[in-house]
Protein backbone atom coordinates (compact mmCIF):
# COMPACT_ATOMS: atom_id res chain seq x y z
CA UNK A 1 0.00 0.00 0.00
CA UNK A 2 2.89 2.34 0.83
CA UNK A 3 6.19 1.95 -0.95
CA UNK A 4 9.06 4.41 -0.65
CA UNK A 5 12.67 4.06 -1.69
CA UNK A 6 15.57 6.46 -1.57
CA UNK A 7 13.41 9.33 -0.33
CA UNK A 8 15.33 12.47 0.57
CA UNK A 9 14.53 16.12 1.05
CA UNK A 10 16.99 18.93 0.70
CA UNK A 11 15.76 21.98 2.57
CA UNK A 12 16.81 25.20 0.86
CA UNK A 13 19.88 26.39 2.74
CA UNK A 14 19.26 23.73 5.41
CA UNK A 15 20.12 20.10 6.20
CA UNK A 16 19.41 17.21 3.88
CA UNK A 17 16.95 14.69 5.30
CA UNK A 18 17.20 11.09 4.09
CA UNK A 19 14.48 8.54 4.88
CA UNK A 20 14.51 4.77 5.21
CA UNK A 21 12.80 2.71 2.53
CA UNK A 22 9.23 1.76 3.39
CA UNK A 23 6.99 -1.14 2.41
CA UNK A 24 3.73 -1.21 4.35
CA UNK A 25 1.02 -3.65 3.19
CA UNK A 26 -2.67 -2.82 3.18
CA UNK A 27 -4.28 -2.89 6.64
CA UNK A 28 -0.98 -2.66 8.47
CA UNK A 29 0.23 0.04 10.83
CA UNK A 30 3.51 1.90 10.56
CA UNK A 31 4.92 3.63 13.64
CA UNK A 32 7.28 6.45 12.71
CA UNK A 33 9.57 7.16 15.66
CA UNK A 34 12.27 9.71 16.06
CA UNK A 35 13.42 12.72 17.99
CA UNK A 36 12.10 16.18 17.33
CA UNK A 37 13.45 17.41 14.02
CA UNK A 38 14.21 13.94 12.73
CA UNK A 39 11.68 14.42 9.90
CA UNK A 40 8.62 12.43 11.06
CA UNK A 41 6.19 15.17 10.06
CA UNK A 42 8.17 15.86 6.90
CA UNK A 43 7.83 12.23 5.82
CA UNK A 44 4.10 12.33 6.59
CA UNK A 45 3.80 15.49 4.49
CA UNK A 46 5.55 13.74 1.60
CA UNK A 47 3.21 10.74 1.91
CA UNK A 48 0.25 13.15 1.92
CA UNK A 49 1.46 14.84 -1.26
CA UNK A 50 2.08 18.13 0.53
CA UNK A 51 5.86 18.21 0.23
CA UNK A 52 7.74 17.05 -2.85
CA UNK A 53 10.77 14.85 -2.18
CA UNK A 54 14.04 16.03 -3.73
CA UNK A 55 14.89 12.46 -4.55
CA UNK A 56 13.49 8.94 -4.46
CA UNK A 57 10.35 7.05 -5.45
CA UNK A 58 7.02 7.03 -3.65
CA UNK A 59 3.78 5.09 -4.10
CA UNK A 60 0.81 5.65 -1.80
CA UNK A 61 -2.29 3.53 -2.48
CA UNK A 62 -0.84 2.72 -5.88
CA UNK A 63 -0.25 6.35 -6.84
CA UNK A 64 2.80 8.57 -6.90
CA UNK A 65 1.15 11.78 -5.69
CA UNK A 66 3.86 13.87 -7.32
CA UNK A 67 3.01 12.50 -10.73
CA UNK A 68 -0.42 14.18 -10.45
CA UNK A 69 -1.37 17.74 -11.31
CA UNK A 70 -2.08 19.89 -8.24
CA UNK A 71 -5.84 19.68 -8.81
CA UNK A 72 -5.77 15.89 -9.22
CA UNK A 73 -3.47 15.61 -6.18
CA UNK A 74 -6.04 17.54 -4.08
CA UNK A 75 -8.80 15.22 -5.26
CA UNK A 76 -6.63 12.15 -4.68
CA UNK A 77 -5.84 13.34 -1.14
CA UNK A 78 -9.52 13.82 -0.33
CA UNK A 79 -10.51 10.47 -1.83
CA UNK A 80 -7.64 8.29 -0.61
CA UNK A 81 -6.23 9.72 2.61
CA UNK A 82 -7.53 10.35 6.08
CA UNK A 83 -5.43 12.97 7.86
CA UNK A 84 -5.26 13.30 11.63
CA UNK A 85 -3.11 16.33 12.47
CA UNK A 86 -1.52 16.95 15.83
CA UNK A 87 -4.14 19.62 16.49
CA UNK A 88 -7.74 18.94 15.57
CA UNK A 89 -8.42 22.35 13.99
CA UNK A 90 -12.12 22.21 14.58
CA UNK A 91 -14.28 24.86 12.95
CA UNK A 92 -16.11 26.76 15.70
CA UNK A 93 -18.90 27.69 13.29
CA UNK A 94 -19.88 24.07 12.62
CA UNK A 95 -21.73 21.44 14.62
CA UNK A 96 -20.24 18.04 15.46
CA UNK A 97 -22.34 16.42 12.73
CA UNK A 98 -21.27 19.02 10.18
CA UNK A 99 -17.60 18.31 10.91
CA UNK A 100 -18.11 14.78 9.64
CA UNK A 101 -19.94 16.13 6.58
CA UNK A 102 -17.14 18.60 5.82
CA UNK A 103 -14.82 16.17 3.93
CA UNK A 104 -17.56 15.41 1.40
CA UNK A 105 -18.41 19.12 0.99
CA UNK A 106 -14.74 19.91 0.45
CA UNK A 107 -14.62 17.65 -2.59
CA UNK A 108 -18.02 18.69 -3.91
CA UNK A 109 -19.84 15.50 -2.92
CA UNK A 110 -23.03 14.91 -0.97
CA UNK A 111 -22.41 13.80 2.62
CA UNK A 112 -23.54 10.24 3.47
CA UNK A 113 -25.84 11.06 6.39
CA UNK A 114 -26.37 7.44 7.44
CA UNK A 115 -22.62 6.77 7.54
CA UNK A 116 -22.09 9.93 9.59
CA UNK A 117 -24.80 8.92 12.07
CA UNK A 118 -23.29 5.43 12.43
CA UNK A 119 -19.79 6.80 12.93
CA UNK A 120 -20.97 9.28 15.58
CA UNK A 121 -22.58 6.37 17.44
CA UNK A 122 -19.35 4.38 17.36
CA UNK A 123 -17.32 7.42 18.43
CA UNK A 124 -19.69 7.98 21.35
CA UNK A 125 -20.54 11.45 20.07
CA UNK A 126 -24.13 10.84 18.92
CA UNK A 127 -25.52 12.79 21.85
CA UNK A 128 -23.42 15.78 20.80
CA UNK A 129 -24.24 15.62 17.10
CA UNK A 130 -26.20 18.87 17.03
CA UNK A 131 -23.95 20.77 19.38
CA UNK A 132 -21.30 23.18 18.18
CA UNK A 133 -17.93 21.42 18.09
CA UNK A 134 -16.44 24.11 20.34
CA UNK A 135 -18.58 22.71 23.18
CA UNK A 136 -16.65 19.40 23.23
CA UNK A 137 -13.93 18.42 25.70
CA UNK A 138 -10.33 17.79 24.58
CA UNK A 139 -10.80 14.02 24.33
CA UNK A 140 -14.07 14.42 22.44
CA UNK A 141 -12.45 16.86 20.03
CA UNK A 142 -9.73 14.33 19.25
CA UNK A 143 -12.37 11.65 18.63
CA UNK A 144 -14.21 14.07 16.36
CA UNK A 145 -10.99 14.69 14.43
CA UNK A 146 -10.55 10.92 14.15
CA UNK A 147 -14.08 10.60 12.82
CA UNK A 148 -13.42 13.36 10.27
CA UNK A 149 -10.32 11.47 9.08
CA UNK A 150 -12.18 8.15 8.78
CA UNK A 151 -15.66 9.13 7.62
CA UNK A 152 -14.90 8.58 3.94
CA UNK A 153 -13.25 5.20 4.64
CA UNK A 154 -9.81 6.19 3.35
CA UNK A 155 -7.25 3.66 2.10
CA UNK A 156 -4.47 5.31 4.10
CA UNK A 157 -4.64 7.16 7.42
CA UNK A 158 -1.80 9.53 8.28
CA UNK A 159 -1.68 10.62 11.93
CA UNK A 160 0.82 13.11 13.34
CA UNK A 161 1.21 12.85 17.13
CA UNK A 162 -2.50 12.03 17.52
CA UNK A 163 -2.24 11.52 21.27
CA UNK A 164 0.05 14.40 22.18
CA UNK A 165 -2.53 16.24 24.27
CA UNK A 166 -4.46 13.26 25.65
CA UNK A 167 -4.37 11.48 28.98
CA UNK A 168 -3.77 7.71 29.20
CA UNK A 169 -7.44 6.74 29.02
CA UNK A 170 -8.16 8.86 25.97
CA UNK A 171 -4.90 7.75 24.34
CA UNK A 172 -5.93 4.11 24.60
CA UNK A 173 -9.41 4.96 23.36
CA UNK A 174 -8.16 6.85 20.28
CA UNK A 175 -5.69 4.10 19.35
CA UNK A 176 -8.36 1.44 19.70
CA UNK A 177 -10.86 3.42 17.63
CA UNK A 178 -8.23 4.25 15.03
CA UNK A 179 -7.54 0.58 14.49
CA UNK A 180 -11.13 -0.56 14.84
CA UNK A 181 -12.81 2.13 12.74
CA UNK A 182 -10.01 2.34 10.21
CA UNK A 183 -11.07 -1.04 8.83
CA UNK A 184 -8.70 -2.15 6.08
CA UNK A 185 -6.88 1.20 5.97
CA UNK A 186 -3.11 1.37 6.19
CA UNK A 187 -2.25 3.58 9.15
CA UNK A 188 0.92 5.63 9.57
CA UNK A 189 1.43 7.20 12.98
CA UNK A 190 4.26 9.65 13.55
CA UNK A 191 4.86 9.77 17.28
CA UNK A 192 7.37 9.92 20.05
CA UNK A 193 4.68 9.04 22.62
CA UNK A 194 5.94 5.98 24.50
CA UNK A 195 2.34 4.98 25.31
CA UNK A 196 1.55 4.60 21.62
CA UNK A 197 4.69 2.64 20.93
CA UNK A 198 4.05 0.37 23.89
CA UNK A 199 0.44 -0.21 22.89
CA UNK A 200 1.15 -1.10 19.27
CA UNK A 201 4.64 -2.60 19.28
CA UNK A 202 4.69 -6.35 19.02
CA UNK A 203 1.49 -6.65 17.02
CA UNK A 204 2.04 -8.74 13.90
CA UNK A 205 0.59 -6.04 11.62
CA UNK A 206 2.62 -3.20 13.10
CA UNK A 207 5.88 -1.99 11.63
CA UNK A 208 8.22 0.37 13.42
CA UNK A 209 10.48 2.78 11.58
CA UNK A 210 12.88 4.84 13.63
CA UNK A 211 14.22 7.92 11.93
CA UNK A 212 17.80 8.92 12.68
CA UNK A 213 18.41 12.36 14.21
CA UNK A 214 18.63 15.22 11.73
CA UNK A 215 22.05 15.27 10.03
CA UNK A 216 22.76 11.67 11.14
CA UNK A 217 23.13 8.60 8.90
CA UNK A 218 19.98 7.35 7.22
Amino acid sequence: MIHASGLALQHQGGPRLSFPDLAVPQGHTLLLRGDSGSGKSTLLAMLAGLLAPSQGHLQVAGTDPWSLTPARRDAWRGRTLGLLPQRAWINPALSVWQHLALPAVCTGETPDTAAIDRLLQRLGLAAWAHQPARALSGGQVQRLALGRALVRQPQVVLADEPTASLDDRHTAQVLEQLRELGGRATVVIATHDARVIQALRGRPDTHVCTLPPAGGPA
Binding site: L50, C106, T107, Q131
Partner: protein, 424 residues
Amino acid sequence: MNPRRLSVIRLVWAHLWSRPGVTALNGLLLTLGFAAITLVLLVSEQAEHQFRKDLAGVDLVVGAKGSPLQLILSGIYHLDSPTGNIPATAADQLRAHPLVAQVVPLALGDSAQGFRIVGTTPDYLQLHQARLAAGQWRAQALQAVIGADVARRTGWRVGQRFEGSHGLGGGGPTHGDHPFTVAGVLAPTGGVIDRLILTPVESVWQVHDVHHPPAPAGGQADDHDHAHHPSHDDDEKAAPQPPRELTMLLVRYRSPLAAALLPRWVNSQGPLQAASPAQESVRLLGLVGVGIQVLQGFGAVLLFVAALSVFVALSHAVRDRQPELAMMRLLGASPRRVSATVAAEALTLAAIGVLAGMLLGHGLTHLLGHLLDGQASLRLTGLWWSPLEAWLPLVGLGLGGLACLGPTWLAYRTSMLPALQGHH
Protein backbone atom coordinates in the same frame (compact mmCIF):
# COMPACT_ATOMS: atom_id res chain seq x y z
CA MET B 1 -29.06 26.60 10.44
CA ASN B 2 -29.89 22.89 10.54
CA PRO B 3 -26.92 21.28 12.34
CA ARG B 4 -27.55 18.03 10.42
CA ARG B 5 -26.99 19.52 7.00
CA LEU B 6 -23.96 20.99 5.29
CA SER B 7 -23.34 22.41 1.85
CA VAL B 8 -21.02 25.12 0.56
CA ILE B 9 -23.81 27.68 1.02
CA ARG B 10 -24.40 26.56 4.61
CA LEU B 11 -20.67 26.58 5.24
CA VAL B 12 -20.47 30.20 4.02
CA TRP B 13 -23.48 31.13 6.16
CA ALA B 14 -21.95 29.41 9.20
CA HIS B 15 -18.70 31.31 8.68
CA LEU B 16 -20.55 34.61 8.41
CA TRP B 17 -22.48 34.00 11.63
CA SER B 18 -19.47 32.71 13.51
CA ARG B 19 -18.60 36.44 13.90
CA PRO B 20 -22.05 37.99 14.34
CA GLY B 21 -20.81 41.39 15.51
CA VAL B 22 -18.47 41.97 12.57
CA THR B 23 -20.99 40.57 10.09
CA ALA B 24 -23.77 42.77 11.49
CA LEU B 25 -21.57 45.89 11.38
CA ASN B 26 -20.48 45.28 7.79
CA GLY B 27 -24.03 44.42 6.79
CA LEU B 28 -25.25 47.63 8.42
CA LEU B 29 -22.64 49.76 6.65
CA LEU B 30 -23.52 48.27 3.29
CA THR B 31 -27.23 48.60 4.01
CA LEU B 32 -26.90 52.28 4.93
CA GLY B 33 -24.83 53.00 1.82
CA PHE B 34 -27.33 51.35 -0.51
CA ALA B 35 -30.27 52.87 1.38
CA ALA B 36 -28.79 56.35 0.91
CA ILE B 37 -28.28 55.76 -2.81
CA THR B 38 -31.80 54.32 -3.18
CA LEU B 39 -33.34 57.23 -1.27
CA VAL B 40 -31.55 59.79 -3.44
CA LEU B 41 -32.58 57.97 -6.62
CA LEU B 42 -36.22 57.73 -5.61
CA VAL B 43 -36.54 61.29 -4.30
CA SER B 44 -34.73 62.91 -7.24
CA GLU B 45 -36.66 60.90 -9.84
CA GLN B 46 -40.02 61.54 -8.22
CA ALA B 47 -39.22 65.23 -7.80
CA GLU B 48 -38.23 65.52 -11.44
CA HIS B 49 -41.24 63.49 -12.57
CA GLN B 50 -43.52 65.70 -10.52
CA PHE B 51 -41.89 68.89 -11.77
CA ARG B 52 -42.43 67.77 -15.34
CA LYS B 53 -45.95 66.46 -14.72
CA ASP B 54 -47.04 69.75 -13.13
CA LEU B 55 -45.86 71.66 -16.19
CA ALA B 56 -48.99 70.15 -17.78
CA GLY B 57 -48.01 71.17 -21.28
CA VAL B 58 -47.90 74.87 -20.38
CA ASP B 59 -45.49 76.64 -22.71
CA LEU B 60 -45.51 80.09 -21.15
CA VAL B 61 -46.67 81.74 -17.94
CA VAL B 62 -47.63 85.39 -18.23
CA GLY B 63 -47.91 87.49 -15.08
CA ALA B 64 -46.94 90.78 -13.55
CA LYS B 65 -43.35 92.00 -13.83
CA GLY B 66 -41.06 90.27 -11.37
CA SER B 67 -38.97 87.17 -11.03
CA PRO B 68 -39.68 84.60 -13.76
CA LEU B 69 -38.86 81.78 -11.32
CA GLN B 70 -41.37 83.22 -8.85
CA LEU B 71 -43.99 83.27 -11.62
CA ILE B 72 -43.38 79.59 -12.31
CA LEU B 73 -43.30 78.63 -8.64
CA SER B 74 -46.59 80.43 -7.97
CA GLY B 75 -48.40 79.72 -11.23
CA ILE B 76 -47.31 76.16 -12.02
CA TYR B 77 -46.31 74.60 -8.70
CA HIS B 78 -48.39 76.84 -6.38
CA LEU B 79 -45.47 77.12 -3.96
CA ASP B 80 -44.67 80.84 -3.93
CA SER B 81 -46.57 84.14 -3.87
CA PRO B 82 -47.48 85.62 -7.22
CA THR B 83 -45.59 88.63 -8.54
CA GLY B 84 -48.78 90.74 -8.72
CA ASN B 85 -51.85 91.19 -10.91
CA ILE B 86 -52.33 91.85 -14.59
CA PRO B 87 -55.30 93.29 -16.47
CA ALA B 88 -57.84 90.67 -17.49
CA THR B 89 -57.75 92.16 -20.95
CA ALA B 90 -54.28 90.64 -21.35
CA ALA B 91 -56.02 87.27 -21.68
CA ASP B 92 -58.11 88.55 -24.61
CA GLN B 93 -55.01 90.04 -26.22
CA LEU B 94 -53.18 86.75 -25.99
CA ARG B 95 -56.15 84.69 -27.18
CA ALA B 96 -56.24 86.88 -30.26
CA HIS B 97 -52.55 86.33 -30.98
CA PRO B 98 -52.01 84.00 -33.96
CA LEU B 99 -49.20 82.07 -32.23
CA VAL B 100 -51.33 81.18 -29.18
CA ALA B 101 -53.41 78.03 -29.07
CA GLN B 102 -54.85 78.30 -25.58
CA VAL B 103 -54.91 80.71 -22.65
CA VAL B 104 -55.97 79.57 -19.17
CA PRO B 105 -56.46 82.37 -16.63
CA LEU B 106 -55.54 82.05 -12.96
CA ALA B 107 -56.81 84.30 -10.18
CA LEU B 108 -55.11 83.68 -6.85
CA GLY B 109 -55.18 85.29 -3.45
CA ASP B 110 -57.24 83.20 -1.04
CA SER B 111 -57.07 79.84 0.60
CA ALA B 112 -59.22 77.49 2.67
CA GLN B 113 -57.84 75.19 5.35
CA GLY B 114 -54.38 75.89 3.93
CA PHE B 115 -55.31 74.92 0.34
CA ARG B 116 -55.10 77.55 -2.37
CA ILE B 117 -58.29 78.74 -4.02
CA VAL B 118 -57.62 79.17 -7.73
CA GLY B 119 -60.00 81.08 -9.93
CA THR B 120 -59.79 79.56 -13.42
CA THR B 121 -61.76 77.84 -16.19
CA PRO B 122 -62.47 74.14 -16.88
CA ASP B 123 -59.52 74.26 -19.27
CA TYR B 124 -57.26 74.03 -16.21
CA LEU B 125 -58.66 70.55 -15.50
CA GLN B 126 -57.94 69.52 -19.08
CA LEU B 127 -54.37 70.82 -18.83
CA HIS B 128 -53.78 68.52 -15.87
CA GLN B 129 -55.80 65.69 -17.39
CA ALA B 130 -57.89 65.65 -14.23
CA ARG B 131 -61.31 64.02 -14.16
CA LEU B 132 -64.13 64.45 -11.72
CA ALA B 133 -64.65 61.62 -9.27
CA ALA B 134 -67.88 63.19 -8.02
CA GLY B 135 -70.10 66.15 -8.89
CA GLN B 136 -69.41 68.53 -11.75
CA TRP B 137 -67.79 71.81 -12.74
CA ARG B 138 -70.31 74.60 -12.33
CA ALA B 139 -69.74 77.90 -14.06
CA GLN B 140 -71.52 79.91 -11.36
CA ALA B 141 -69.53 81.97 -8.88
CA LEU B 142 -68.75 80.44 -5.47
CA GLN B 143 -69.06 76.90 -6.83
CA ALA B 144 -65.83 74.97 -6.27
CA VAL B 145 -64.22 71.77 -7.48
CA ILE B 146 -61.74 70.42 -4.96
CA GLY B 147 -58.61 68.31 -5.53
CA ALA B 148 -58.31 64.75 -4.21
CA ASP B 149 -55.90 65.73 -1.41
CA VAL B 150 -58.16 68.58 -0.33
CA ALA B 151 -61.10 66.20 -0.13
CA ARG B 152 -59.08 63.60 1.76
CA ARG B 153 -57.67 65.99 4.32
CA THR B 154 -60.74 68.19 4.89
CA GLY B 155 -63.37 65.49 4.50
CA TRP B 156 -65.41 67.79 2.27
CA ARG B 157 -67.94 66.22 -0.07
CA VAL B 158 -70.18 67.55 -2.84
CA GLY B 159 -72.64 70.02 -1.35
CA GLN B 160 -70.34 70.98 1.52
CA ARG B 161 -70.02 74.72 2.19
CA PHE B 162 -66.78 76.31 3.30
CA GLU B 163 -65.31 79.76 3.73
CA GLY B 164 -62.19 81.08 2.13
CA SER B 165 -59.73 83.28 3.95
CA HIS B 166 -57.35 85.99 2.83
CA GLY B 167 -53.87 85.00 1.89
CA LEU B 168 -52.36 81.91 0.34
CA GLY B 169 -50.93 80.47 3.52
CA GLY B 170 -54.18 80.46 5.52
CA GLY B 171 -54.81 82.15 8.81
CA GLY B 172 -56.10 85.42 7.31
CA PRO B 173 -59.56 86.94 7.88
CA THR B 174 -62.36 84.86 6.41
CA HIS B 175 -64.85 85.74 3.73
CA GLY B 176 -67.77 84.61 5.86
CA ASP B 177 -70.31 86.38 3.70
CA HIS B 178 -69.22 84.54 0.58
CA PRO B 179 -69.12 80.84 1.39
CA PHE B 180 -68.15 78.42 -1.35
CA THR B 181 -70.06 75.24 -2.14
CA VAL B 182 -68.28 72.07 -3.24
CA ALA B 183 -69.70 71.23 -6.66
CA GLY B 184 -67.25 68.51 -7.56
CA VAL B 185 -64.35 66.40 -6.30
CA LEU B 186 -61.44 65.46 -8.56
CA ALA B 187 -59.95 61.99 -8.82
CA PRO B 188 -56.31 61.83 -7.67
CA THR B 189 -53.77 62.76 -10.35
CA GLY B 190 -50.53 62.71 -8.35
CA GLY B 191 -49.99 66.36 -9.38
CA VAL B 192 -50.34 69.80 -7.88
CA ILE B 193 -54.03 69.98 -8.83
CA ASP B 194 -54.78 67.47 -6.06
CA ARG B 195 -53.98 70.23 -3.55
CA LEU B 196 -56.05 73.01 -5.13
CA ILE B 197 -59.57 74.35 -4.81
CA LEU B 198 -60.73 75.40 -8.26
CA THR B 199 -63.52 77.84 -8.88
CA PRO B 200 -64.63 80.10 -11.73
CA VAL B 201 -62.60 83.32 -11.91
CA GLU B 202 -65.81 85.21 -11.21
CA SER B 203 -65.84 83.72 -7.68
CA VAL B 204 -62.58 85.42 -6.82
CA TRP B 205 -63.81 88.72 -8.22
CA GLN B 206 -67.10 88.45 -6.34
CA VAL B 207 -65.46 87.57 -3.01
CA HIS B 208 -63.18 90.59 -3.24
CA ASP B 209 -65.66 93.06 -4.63
CA VAL B 210 -66.58 94.12 -1.10
CA HIS B 211 -63.36 93.97 0.74
CA HIS B 212 -60.56 95.56 -1.14
CA PRO B 213 -59.69 98.60 -3.16
CA PRO B 214 -57.83 97.86 -6.37
CA ALA B 215 -54.12 97.38 -6.27
CA PRO B 216 -52.05 98.96 -8.94
CA ALA B 217 -51.84 96.50 -11.78
CA GLY B 218 -48.43 94.97 -12.14
CA GLY B 219 -47.43 95.90 -8.60
CA GLN B 220 -45.57 93.44 -6.38
CA ALA B 221 -48.12 91.50 -4.35
CA ASP B 222 -47.90 90.21 -0.83
CA ASP B 223 -49.15 86.73 -0.17
CA HIS B 224 -52.78 87.81 -0.09
CA ASP B 225 -52.85 90.03 -3.06
CA HIS B 226 -55.83 89.05 -5.20
CA ALA B 227 -57.07 89.31 -8.66
CA HIS B 228 -60.11 91.46 -8.16
CA HIS B 229 -63.04 93.38 -9.51
CA PRO B 230 -63.53 96.39 -7.29
CA SER B 231 -66.95 97.60 -8.41
CA HIS B 232 -68.91 97.75 -5.20
CA ASP B 233 -69.74 100.09 -2.30
CA ASP B 234 -72.34 102.71 -2.71
CA ASP B 235 -69.75 105.46 -2.93
CA GLU B 236 -68.06 103.77 -5.79
CA LYS B 237 -71.17 102.89 -7.77
CA ALA B 238 -71.04 106.12 -9.65
CA ALA B 239 -67.36 105.92 -10.30
CA PRO B 240 -66.11 104.39 -13.55
CA GLN B 241 -65.61 100.63 -13.16
CA PRO B 242 -61.91 99.80 -12.86
CA PRO B 243 -60.64 97.04 -15.12
CA ARG B 244 -60.84 93.43 -13.91
CA GLU B 245 -57.62 91.72 -12.99
CA LEU B 246 -56.12 88.28 -13.08
CA THR B 247 -53.00 86.90 -11.40
CA MET B 248 -51.48 85.12 -14.37
CA LEU B 249 -52.14 83.33 -17.62
CA LEU B 250 -51.04 79.87 -18.65
CA VAL B 251 -50.35 79.82 -22.37
CA ARG B 252 -49.96 77.01 -24.88
CA TYR B 253 -48.31 77.73 -28.21
CA ARG B 254 -49.89 77.09 -31.55
CA SER B 255 -46.50 76.56 -33.24
CA PRO B 256 -42.87 76.10 -32.16
CA LEU B 257 -42.15 79.52 -33.65
CA ALA B 258 -44.00 81.02 -30.70
CA ALA B 259 -41.17 80.00 -28.36
CA ALA B 260 -38.91 82.48 -30.11
CA LEU B 261 -41.37 85.33 -30.67
CA LEU B 262 -44.09 85.30 -28.05
CA PRO B 263 -42.05 85.89 -24.84
CA ARG B 264 -40.46 88.94 -26.42
CA TRP B 265 -43.87 90.23 -27.51
CA VAL B 266 -45.34 89.65 -24.02
CA ASN B 267 -42.46 91.43 -22.29
CA SER B 268 -43.01 94.46 -24.49
CA GLN B 269 -46.65 94.74 -23.33
CA GLY B 270 -46.26 97.17 -20.47
CA PRO B 271 -46.87 95.43 -17.11
CA LEU B 272 -46.59 91.86 -18.47
CA GLN B 273 -43.79 89.42 -17.83
CA ALA B 274 -43.33 86.09 -19.62
CA ALA B 275 -41.68 83.10 -18.01
CA SER B 276 -40.89 79.81 -19.71
CA PRO B 277 -41.73 76.86 -17.41
CA ALA B 278 -39.29 74.61 -19.26
CA GLN B 279 -36.37 77.02 -18.77
CA GLU B 280 -37.21 77.93 -15.19
CA SER B 281 -37.76 74.28 -14.25
CA VAL B 282 -34.32 73.43 -15.59
CA ARG B 283 -32.92 76.23 -13.40
CA LEU B 284 -34.90 74.98 -10.44
CA LEU B 285 -33.81 71.36 -10.96
CA GLY B 286 -30.24 72.64 -11.29
CA LEU B 287 -30.52 74.23 -7.85
CA VAL B 288 -32.11 71.12 -6.35
CA GLY B 289 -29.58 69.01 -8.24
CA VAL B 290 -26.72 70.36 -6.11
CA GLY B 291 -28.39 68.94 -3.02
CA ILE B 292 -29.05 65.66 -4.81
CA GLN B 293 -25.40 65.43 -5.87
CA VAL B 294 -24.29 66.03 -2.28
CA LEU B 295 -26.58 63.21 -1.13
CA GLN B 296 -25.31 60.94 -3.90
CA GLY B 297 -21.74 61.70 -2.89
CA PHE B 298 -22.60 60.92 0.71
CA GLY B 299 -24.09 57.57 -0.34
CA ALA B 300 -21.02 56.78 -2.45
CA VAL B 301 -18.70 57.55 0.49
CA LEU B 302 -20.80 55.29 2.72
CA LEU B 303 -20.55 52.50 0.15
CA PHE B 304 -16.78 52.95 -0.15
CA VAL B 305 -16.38 52.80 3.65
CA ALA B 306 -18.58 49.71 3.72
CA ALA B 307 -16.50 48.00 1.02
CA LEU B 308 -13.32 48.90 2.89
CA SER B 309 -14.76 47.52 6.11
CA VAL B 310 -15.76 44.27 4.38
CA PHE B 311 -12.23 44.02 2.94
CA VAL B 312 -10.60 44.53 6.36
CA ALA B 313 -13.01 42.16 8.11
CA LEU B 314 -12.56 39.46 5.48
CA SER B 315 -8.77 39.81 5.55
CA HIS B 316 -8.81 39.37 9.31
CA ALA B 317 -11.23 36.48 9.05
CA VAL B 318 -9.08 34.70 6.48
CA ARG B 319 -5.99 35.16 8.67
CA ASP B 320 -7.90 33.93 11.73
CA ARG B 321 -9.28 31.01 9.80
CA GLN B 322 -6.04 29.89 8.17
CA PRO B 323 -6.12 26.58 10.11
CA GLU B 324 -9.74 25.91 9.13
CA LEU B 325 -9.04 26.77 5.50
CA ALA B 326 -5.89 24.64 5.55
CA MET B 327 -7.93 21.81 7.06
CA MET B 328 -10.36 22.12 4.17
CA ARG B 329 -7.41 21.79 1.81
CA LEU B 330 -6.17 18.72 3.73
CA LEU B 331 -9.64 17.23 3.33
CA GLY B 332 -9.31 17.52 -0.44
CA ALA B 333 -10.69 20.99 -1.23
CA SER B 334 -8.96 22.66 -4.14
CA PRO B 335 -7.50 26.16 -3.67
CA ARG B 336 -10.26 27.39 -5.97
CA ARG B 337 -12.98 25.88 -3.77
CA VAL B 338 -11.47 27.34 -0.59
CA SER B 339 -11.10 30.81 -2.08
CA ALA B 340 -14.61 30.55 -3.54
CA THR B 341 -16.06 30.07 -0.05
CA VAL B 342 -14.26 33.23 1.08
CA ALA B 343 -15.47 35.16 -1.97
CA ALA B 344 -18.98 33.85 -1.39
CA GLU B 345 -18.90 35.35 2.11
CA ALA B 346 -18.23 38.83 0.73
CA LEU B 347 -20.76 38.43 -2.05
CA THR B 348 -23.42 37.13 0.35
CA LEU B 349 -22.81 40.11 2.60
CA ALA B 350 -23.02 42.45 -0.39
CA ALA B 351 -26.25 40.80 -1.56
CA ILE B 352 -27.76 41.21 1.91
CA GLY B 353 -26.58 44.84 1.94
CA VAL B 354 -28.15 45.56 -1.46
CA LEU B 355 -31.48 43.94 -0.60
CA ALA B 356 -31.73 45.43 2.88
CA GLY B 357 -30.48 48.82 1.59
CA MET B 358 -33.06 48.94 -1.19
CA LEU B 359 -35.83 47.95 1.20
CA LEU B 360 -34.69 50.54 3.73
CA GLY B 361 -34.37 53.18 0.97
CA HIS B 362 -37.94 52.52 -0.19
CA GLY B 363 -39.16 52.51 3.41
CA LEU B 364 -37.43 55.82 4.18
CA THR B 365 -38.83 57.38 1.00
CA HIS B 366 -42.31 56.26 2.01
CA LEU B 367 -41.80 57.68 5.49
CA LEU B 368 -40.53 60.94 4.02
CA GLY B 369 -43.58 61.05 1.76
CA HIS B 370 -45.78 60.53 4.81
CA LEU B 371 -44.03 63.36 6.69
CA LEU B 372 -44.35 65.71 3.70
CA ASP B 373 -47.97 64.76 3.13
CA GLY B 374 -49.26 67.67 5.20
CA GLN B 375 -47.12 70.19 3.38
CA ALA B 376 -47.67 71.64 -0.05
CA SER B 377 -44.43 70.20 -1.36
CA LEU B 378 -43.17 66.96 -2.85
CA ARG B 379 -45.40 63.92 -3.00
CA LEU B 380 -43.21 60.88 -2.40
CA THR B 381 -43.98 57.20 -2.27
CA GLY B 382 -41.80 54.20 -1.46
CA LEU B 383 -43.66 52.21 -4.10
CA TRP B 384 -41.82 54.09 -6.87
CA TRP B 385 -39.27 51.93 -8.73
CA SER B 386 -36.43 53.57 -10.57
CA PRO B 387 -34.89 51.80 -13.58
CA LEU B 388 -31.50 52.83 -12.17
CA GLU B 389 -32.13 50.59 -9.16
CA ALA B 390 -31.53 47.61 -11.46
CA TRP B 391 -27.85 48.59 -11.36
CA LEU B 392 -27.60 48.44 -7.57
CA PRO B 393 -27.21 44.62 -7.38
CA LEU B 394 -24.42 44.90 -9.94
CA VAL B 395 -22.78 47.67 -7.90
CA GLY B 396 -23.11 45.43 -4.81
CA LEU B 397 -21.54 42.47 -6.59
CA GLY B 398 -18.76 44.72 -7.87
CA LEU B 399 -18.05 46.08 -4.40
CA GLY B 400 -18.19 42.60 -2.86
CA GLY B 401 -15.89 41.36 -5.59
CA LEU B 402 -13.39 44.16 -5.01
CA ALA B 403 -13.51 43.70 -1.24
CA CYS B 404 -12.83 39.96 -1.46
CA LEU B 405 -10.00 40.08 -4.03
CA GLY B 406 -7.18 40.25 -1.47
CA PRO B 407 -8.67 37.85 1.09
CA THR B 408 -9.56 35.39 -1.68
CA TRP B 409 -5.96 35.42 -2.89
CA LEU B 410 -4.80 34.81 0.69
CA ALA B 411 -7.19 31.87 0.94
CA TYR B 412 -6.03 30.55 -2.44
CA ARG B 413 -2.45 30.46 -1.20
CA THR B 414 -3.27 28.80 2.12
CA SER B 415 -0.51 26.35 3.01
CA MET B 416 -1.53 22.96 4.37
CA LEU B 417 1.79 21.99 5.89
CA PRO B 418 1.50 24.08 9.09
CA ALA B 419 -1.99 22.72 9.67
CA LEU B 420 -0.77 19.12 9.39
CA GLN B 421 2.11 19.84 11.74
CA GLY B 422 -0.03 21.84 14.17
CA HIS B 423 1.90 25.09 13.69
CA HIS B 424 -0.77 27.70 12.83
